[in-house]
Structures are given as C-alpha cells and as structure tokens.
C-alpha cells in the first residue's frame, strides 16, 4: 500500500499543493490530472522518491520511502516524460541498459521479443535517433513488458502513441493491476481501465 | 607619547605607504561591507513595505 500523508510541496515561492493525502491499495489505479503546471509531474517525482516533500510523508507498506531507499526502488518502476532513451544507442541497447539499471538484466532475445510485442519489429537494431517520437516512446514503454515490479509510476505514458499502442498499454496496465500491482499515472487522454478501484486526483 | 610628531606617525619609519596602504584598504573593505549589508537590508524593508523600528 502506497500512502501519502499531508503532502506539501512548493517550487520556489509557488505552493503547488498542500495537505494532500491519499492511499492506494494493491490492484488500484490512481489517475492524476490537472492543468499544466499544477504539479502532476512534481507529485509523481515525490512518489517515486526523486524529490523530497516540504511537508508530510510518503509511506510504502507503512515505511517512509526515503528510509527504504533501494528496497523501494526494487519494487517500483518510474517512467518519466523523458524516457531515458539515448540517441546513439539502438533500440535493443537502450532497452537492455534501462532494464539493467532497474536491476533486471535481460538478454538480447528477451529484449528483441519485448520490442517485437510493442510493435517495433525490424526496428530493433536502429539507433534511436532515426526513430519517430512515438517509436521512441514505445522503446521506453517496452520496459513495462519485462519488469517484475509492482508499483508503476507513469508520467504521461500515452503521449505520441497511436490507437493500437494506447490499447496495448491499457492491457499492460490491466494485467499489472490484476496481478495486485499499483499504478499511478498522469494523462490528458481518456482511457477506460478496469481496475478493482480507480481513484481520480485532480490538482488545481 | 610614542611618536615625536604627526609626520613621524604618518611616515611610519619610512614604511608609511605600506602600513597606511594596508590599513586604508582594510577600512575601505569594512566600510564597504557595512554599506552593502545595510543597503540590502534597507532595500528589502522598503520592497516588503515593513516599518519595523529596529531596521538599523
């Protein structure tokens, strides 16, 4: 269970949010929406532990995520709106390295299979700089296919994706939720996801 | 009195330039710092519209 208690966070002198509390159980989805600059990305960066809140605490199964550190990172996958894709590396290299960084080493076959499933057949050996925006996004999202983590924190995973890819991501999310995973995501697009419960958080 | 005359005091046994050069710059630094520090504080007070008494 991921719990946020009385979170407060500000950028410079600008207060993004305060007294924000929620908790997400296993199998639950939290959709975060709000206008640009309302602090969606900031909230996700707090939840994954990149930033520290000014006030309040974030708990994973009752323990502060800052104290858990690497134990929390082992069960959590964060996909920022920057995908961590290197222009000079091929799709396969990109995927294998980002998986290795997440502590989940995969071999070339697994990487190739994942990229194939996400619709990049024949593009595996191309350097990322020749891929389109949507294809690069898919390379980043391919991590979700091979990861074993429970908590997914996704920042705008659907941008630049076409309908088939969006559908594919929806299935992926549903699969993770049905296994008892937790998903927190921001999105501008409407998406129907069947989850045990889904909460909607609107930041203003 | 240690010094025979004012000019002896100023000449510092022939080292006047160096002694007063050091002390002069020290004075300049200290006065300059005080000025800058107070200016920063006063400007802030004005910007924020504070009218607290102890605004040195």
């Amino acid at each position: 269970m991921l719990t946020a208690n009385n979170l407060g966070f500000s950028r410079g002198n600008h207060k993004l949010f305060e007294n924000l509390s929620f908790s997400i159980n296993e199998g639950e989805l939290l959709l975060v929406s709000g206008s640009n600059g309302s602090g969606k990305t900031s909230l996700l960066r707090l939840l994954c532990g990149i930033s520290t809140p000014d006030e309040g605490e974030i708990l994973w199964n009752g323990a502060e995520i800052r104290d858990l550190g690497e134990d929390y990172y082992r069960v959590m996958t964060y996909l920022g709106h920057l995908g961590g894709i290197k222009d000079d590396l091929t799709a396969i290299e990109n995927l294998r390295i980002s998986c290795a960084l997440a502590g989940n080493e995969i071999d070339e076959g697994q990487a190739k299979e994942a990229l194939g499933r996400i619709g990049l057949v024949g593009r595996e050996m191309l350097p990322a700089k020749v891929l389109s925006q949507g294809q690069r996004r898919r390379v980043a999202l391919a991590r979700l296919l091979v990861t074993h983590t429970k908590v997914w924190i996704l920042d705008e995973p659907l941008t630049a994706l076409d309908v088939t890819a969006v559908d594919m991501i929806r299935q992926l999310l549903e699969h993770n939720l049905s296994k008892g995973g937790l998903v927190v995501m921001t999105t501008h697009q409407e998406m129907e996801i069947s989850a045990v419960t889904s909460q909607h958080l609107v930041l203003s | 009195m240690k010094w025979e005359s004012l000019s002896a005091f100023i000449s510092m046994g022939g080292y006047g330039l160096y002694v007063w050069g050091s002390y002069g710059v020290a004075l300049l630094c200290v006065v300059g710092e005080i000025f800058l520090v107070k200016k920063r504080f006063r400007t802030l007070h004005k910007e924020l519209g504070l009218n607290e008494k102890s605004s040195i």
Partner: protein, 219 residues
Amino acid sequence: MILWIIKRDLLLAMRRRADVLTTLFFFIIVVSLFPLGVGPEMNTLRIMAPGIVWVAALLASMLALGRMFSGDYTDGTLEQMLLSPVSLSALVMGKAIAHWLITGVPLVLIAPVLGIQYDLPAESLMVLTLSLLMGTPVLSLIGAIGAALTLGLRGGGVLVSLLVLPLYVPVLIFGAGAVEASAAGLGFEAHFSLLGAFLLVSVVCSPWATAASLRISMG
C-alpha cells in the same frame, strides 16, 4: 552493474569519437602552445615541462566534466539511475571510471610524446606518465562532485572550473613534483605514495559525495 555503466559510456563514446578526440587535441594544443609563449630555450622548457603538462591535463580533464552527467540528465537516464536498486554511489563510481577511461587514459598515453617535445630525459618521461596515471583518476573522481553540483545550471561549465580547480591543487603539486624530484635526482617515492593516498581517499569519499550531490540537484 558498474560494468554495465562503464560499458554503456564507452559505447556512447565510441559512437561519438569526436568528443573524445576534442579533449585529447585540446591537451596537445595547450602543451604545444607554451614554447611559443615562453621561447624555445630548451633548458627553461625542460624545467617547466612537468608543470605545463600537468596543468594542461587538469584543464583537459575538466573540459570533459560537463559531459559527465549532462547527457543522462537531459534524456532522463539520470532519473532512472537515482531510482535504481543498485546504490547510486556504485553507479557514480562507474561513471567516474568511464570518464577516466575516455579522457584520462588518452592523456596518459600521449604524455610521453609531448614530453619529448620538451626534451625530457627517459626517466622523467616515465615518472611523468606514471604520475599522470595515478593522478588523472583523482581528477575524474573529484570533478564528478563538481559536475553533479552544477547539473543543469546556466553557466555550469565555468562554474564547475571555479569549484573544482582549487581542489585539484594537491594533485598538481605532487604530480608535477614527482617529475621534478626525479629530474633533480631526489626520490619520488614519497610523491607517489601521496598521490596513491589521494587516490584512495577520493575513491572512498567522492562517489558518496557525488551521489548526494546528484540527489540534491535532481530533487
């Protein structure tokens, strides 16, 4: 895991060979410019050679510091590193090793050739190369702290030199000092053991400080 990082950074460097060569050429040019500035008098040059080569090495390795984290920062890889189940200090260590392999080792290899320009005797050439071999990793490790602190700041490139160059002083003194001591017929073992001590201290402390700085800069 460290190996993954080193392998990746080397791979990236291989795909962008121009960057590596720029640093190397910078080093060569700086060293070659000095005689034009101070005159071709060989005796003077021989005395100045260790200092010149070392200062040029300092500048060259600093020049490449900006690239150490900025690429990973702009494409989001750094966020993933922060969230890796592997300790960030270990990843940082990998990055520093890669930085040294890419910028430090070429300098070490080319140094004897540049020393010949200054008519250094064979023993001095050897000591110079060895001192660079021990000193350049320290430069990469200390530099990593500066690079992490100035991440994403405007004017970060100049700022990093301001932060890091004063910290390079001991390495410069003992690196260049070793060559001078050997040229003067004095022992240079003491210099080398001190360089070794600096290396040890920076291996222990710097990845930790760099990791802390990265978390601060990203948070």
